[in-house]
Symmetry: C2
Subunit: 227 residues, 2 copies
């Protein structure tokens, strides 16, 4: 696929950083966004350290999304609504890949928070009516993403109502070595993906593990319909 | 493990029948429950056809749960509340494995129904306060279960608040060849399992497949903590 220009909103956290490293290593241009220019530039330096040949820069969130072609949202859910509301004019009609899982840690347990719109990704679509919102990448472990020299034994299930945006996201996902992208249906299914993250985090805790998901029973181990 | 006496509430549907076949083949005693004695006995005959050496009988639901040690609930969600309410005195303090996913098919899409108690399994626990309710087996394809000569390439994630009931359910799950059981945490996590069934059914439709789930990244391919 041709190189994409990817802007990360909240690219300084572990999930954003991990995805940025993988996509930088695959030859895409990366703009790490943050509320703080200094932290964005620090994070960009971390990505460059893992992918020295890559085109990576740090900017404040608004400049990042203005410069990017595809916006990747990797902020904590607590800031999801306010951040996207503020960035809506800059995001306009772009593709938005929402990676956010609305989870809270309480009394040693992980719990999904109710979202009035249904899911974080549906909230993004409601706040960004002109954009093509896709939900993906919730189940990739941040630490495993950072080990860019290792292939990632994982499937990425992608949900969305905009077919072209979904196909572009699926192609992007498969730029991560060993990842298979699967079409998980409409954006309304994103809640089930987001909340399933709570199960994977519970398994990580119960088994001291870094879990990911594989779907068995599709094709003959091939990648049907995913490009 | 010693043989269990398993009573299926709604054992005439494809999921109940499939699980009954697997557990019968593993040497457990099976009582297929139904509202109709005739349909229960027909289903029992289908199970015996797949597992000729097994101890299998058909009874009406109430007699089935009275005779069983472990109750497996495989009814459609539409009848979940009324059926369990009626059977509560007969179920008493038994182990109840709830396999129900509260889903509805609408306009070509699959959608999870809201459940006031949180999930079908949490509803079961609320209706059966003396019982030890466990949620499991949602993600096993009914058709694949019926092919009892084939191992099942799948993980079974088990949620529950009663440790002994959970361990017994996990041991039971691993009686199905190639299945690995995983401790998915408290019963509150059951909603994420139930609703994820909607994603697997969407994938089945999108890829004309019979999907199941494998969790990657736990142990060295071993079965840590699962027995």
């Amino acid at each position: 696929m041709p190189p994409e220009k990817l802007a990360f909103v909240g690219g300084t956290g572990p999930e954003g950083l991990g995805l940025a490293v993988r996509f930088a290593a695959a030859g895409h241009s990366i703009i790490i966004g943050s509320r703080s220019l200094e932290r964005a530039q620090e994070a960009a330096a971390k990505v460059r350290a893992k992918a020295p040949a890559a085109d990576v820069e740090g900017r404040v969130n608004q400049e990042a999304v203005e410069a990017g072609e595809i916006v990747v949202v990797t902020i904590p859910f607590a800031g999801h609504r306010d951040t996207l509301e503020a960035l809506a004019p800059s995001i306009g009609a772009k593709i938005v890949i929402d990676v956010v899982s609305p989870l809270v840690f309480e009394g040693g347990q992980i719990r999904a928070l109710p979202v009035p719109e249904g899911s974080a990704a549906q909230q993004a679509q409601a706040l960004l009516p002109g954009a093509a919102v896709v939900a993906a990448f919730h189940h990739l472990d941040a630490g495993s993403l950072m080990n860019v020299e290792n292939p990632l034994d994982a499937d990425v299930i992608v949900c969305g109502d905009h077919p072209q945006a979904k196909l572009r996201t699926m192609a992007l996902a498969e730029q991560i070595a060993s990842v298979r992208a699967l079409d998980g249906g409409p954006l309304a299914n994103s809640r089930y993906l987001e909340e399933f993250t709570a199960v994977l985090l519970t398994l990580n805790k119960n088994y001291n593990a870094h879990t990911a998901l594989r779907i068995v029973g599709i094709g003959g181990g091939g990648k049907p319909g995913s490009r």
